[in-house]
Amino acid sequence: MIGSVNLLIGLAMGLNLMALGSSRLPSVIRAMAVQGVALGLLPLLMSEHFELLVALAAVGTVIIKGFVIPHLLRRAMRAANIDREVEPLVGYVPSLLLGAAGTIAAVAVTYRLPLLPEHAHTLLVPGSLATIFTGFILLICRVKAISQVCGYLILENGIYLFGLLLIRSTPFLVESGILLDLTVGVFVIGIIADRIQRAFDSLDTRKLTVLRE
């Protein structure tokens, strides 16, 4: 069980780096979507016996993170005719190295944290820290609104992963948190993409600076 959980989280950590290293928006979106699916499956593996609510939440997460949101983003991209290059502020190689350093640091830091024994051998905490860090790098180092949205979603994936630490003790709270989070996420992103797309021809956040007053 721990093996497959770690495998999925490891995959998510790899996808972090893939999102940092890819120069095309569609591949960033794809990395984010696959990560969403991988992480969405986690609750199923982690709970000891089958629970309907958990299964529903998991399926919902997979559908929304893996399909709905990517679809919204792709549509926004097509509709606004966005150039598919990512346009990094910080180059791909440096952000990749930064992400890798963050991942290693996350693993190193986790060994020093006073974790419950059942969490000490999973990648939950380092995976979550690394994913949050990756989200921040994407938010800081990328120019386009779509890649910023992807950064935000990856950040959110990290927070979600952290929340899974509590799934044993308060499963219901975690489930409802996830669902609430997803709903808000879909709304916010749908609205943002739609608004930006209408207000500007491009989805370039640099142009949002004219709104600062």
Binding site: G21, Y92, L96, A100, Y111
Partner: protein, 305 residues
Amino acid sequence: MNTAVSFLELPARLAAWLLLAPLLPGIINRVKAWVAGRRGPPLLQLYYDLARLWRKSVVMSTLASPGFIVGPAVAWVAVAGAALLMPIGAAGGALSFRGDVLLLIYLLALARFATAWAALETGSAFEGMGAAREVSFGVLAEAALIAAVLSLSVQSGSTTLDAMLAPSAWPGAVLLASGLFAVLLAENCRVPFDDPNTHLELTMIHEAMVLDHSGPPLAVVLHGASVKLLLFAVLLSEAALPIGRLAPGAGAAALAGSVLAVTAGIGLVESFMARFAFRRVPLLLTAAFLLCLFALVLAWKGGAQ
């Protein structure tokens, strides 16, 4: 008796490396032809080429110094020496001592130095371009290679190749194998880093470096490149599969099968992938380096628990 065996063993080993190596490019070409639905060149094409080149006369640039001939010879000896250090299954390397793995890596670096030096002998812009790319990408490839062997060394607690090539548990081995495969493609100038078939000088690395070579020196260059390819295929196989622990017969079969699989894999990559733009190559090599680095951290942390 032992000395007699080892006395015969060295030439036998060397002959095996040198004679088998030119098969690999042939296999790759057959795989590519098969995917493309062509008949393709004969499997032994490189042998014919080498034999023909060995008999040809040489045209040398008026600008070139004797280093132009020395370079390929040095590179060839360095690669052949590295091959001799490489253990073959349970039989081990021809010479095995503590730290031989570093000698192997630095022999490959010596080959790079000699090839690049010879390329610059002619004063040609294209060859300069190829050499510049080779030595620059070599930086990343070497860092990845050191990270990879360091992870093997941590895993086994040894710096002797014989003992080191015992693969780790599988997540680390997979990371290491994919990292090493990317390094293999880069170091041997295959797609997506370089296109061995193209004749557009601006896009080449290795082929651009050897543009002006002809006759026996070119044969030596081509043969050295094939030995290097075989060397990397063996390294990759032994780093990922527990070949050293099998019985000699099974080990040899597993090694041959896995080298064949790696070679076919190269052919498939070349059939289905396009060469990357040069500005993307460092990114790919960085990714290879990170794969090896993560394998290293896994190996290092794995034992600490």
